[in-house]
Subunit: 218 residues, 2 copies
């Protein structure tokens, strides 16, 4: 028996990350202005951005500071669940904050996602609509059926609430929610594959495993 | 074979909803000030609040308007996923907006949850911490093991990102996220029960069912 979930996540087809810093808020990036003085050995531009985000000058970026710094292309702040997701990915020493080295990884990750976002935002609207999202997920190797696509769009669109996934004037998916959406679909698919040990397309879960799997999602 | 997920959601043990309108932002409610003139037959206070939230005077409350109106006890806006959840519960005619009658239901729901929140916020901190959350979920009939409790707390706490669920200075769960958390645990448990047709404590899912179940959560 075969099953149709994608295993790939290559991200082929869009431009590879360049060396330029994220543009000022388009389609998603840091809002703060850089201050002076990089430490020796550090990439000066990157250190400037780190210092700008680290508003209390603690040498560490907290969730509060990151939340204040990250904005979408439409100037709305990143949603908290996306900020927390980024923290949990890049806080590799589990200190609860992001040091300069961890910040480098976070920075690159956001830059890479900006390129992905720009690539799939074909109409340059600043948000991702249903067909753009479908293209992105397909390119990542996730071929969701139309019903699931409508569900994903409804969940991550910033305003859609209707059953069709397109409320009146539905404006699409902002950068923060696009990144979270892709990470959730990837993580769900990986969880499914891990649990489907005999590769028959079905998984068996007890209540604790079910909750554990779902509550681990960003 | 028995399984330990809770089926109850009685909410016993806290005060029943009273007749008073939500207090101004404590622990969660509407930020806008009421204007003049209820229509005939309507509860005047309730209509005032509706008209205050309906800032474009369309006679319908949009996601935008609701998002602007709803604030937590700490004056932060409700997170968008909670606003969308409220819209999808109370937009019963699936118009994409909330009319006055739908607003009545939404209003009562928020008042009820305010009472629940106040009851379980034993230390009157304005947020729900791990042990308060555990009490609340237990009283609703959901007995999660300690590992799952840490995961739930980490997910819904406004700042916690660490593996223990308690980052440095972790301030707890705000009203919006508390409501969403309880609704998610309830919905997950109901999904599990529905899928566990032979009541043996295990469910079998294919990839589409798995995604459908998870992506339907608020």
């Amino acid at each position: 028996m075969s099953y149709n979930y994608g295993g790939g996540y290559g991200g082929q087809g869009y431009a590879p990350p360049g060396g330029a810093p994220p543009s000022y808020g388009q389609p998603g990036g840091f809002a703060a202005a850089p201050p002076a003085g990089p430490p020796p050995g550090a990439d000066p531009q990157l250190w400037n951005w780190f210092a700008a985000v680290d508003t209390d000058r603690s040498g560490q970026v907290s969730v509060y500071e990151l939340e204040k710094a990250l904005i979408n292309g439409d100037w709305t702040p990143f949603d908290l669940d996306t900020v927390k997701m980024l923290m949990s990915i890049f806080d590799t020493d589990r200190s609860g904050t992001i040091g300069f080295n961890e910040f480098s990884g976070l920075w690159k990750y956001i830059k890479d996602w900006q390129n992905v976002f720009r690539h799939f935002d074909r109409d340059r609207s600043g948000t991702i609509d249903g067909s753009e999202l479908q293209d992105a997920l397909r390119q990542f190797g996730f071929n969701l059926n139309p019903q699931l696509m409508r569900l994903v769009e409804k969940k991550y669109d910033i305003k859609a609430t209707g059953p069709t996934g397109r409320g009146p004037g539905s404006p699409g998916i902002t950068f923060d929610r696009f990144v979270r959406c892709c990470v959730v679909i990837k993580q769900l698919s990986e969880s499914f594959m891990r649990l489907d040990t005999d590769r028959d397309g079905w998984i068996q879960l007890n209540y604790d495993q079910f909750l554990q799997t779902v509550l681990s999602l960003p």
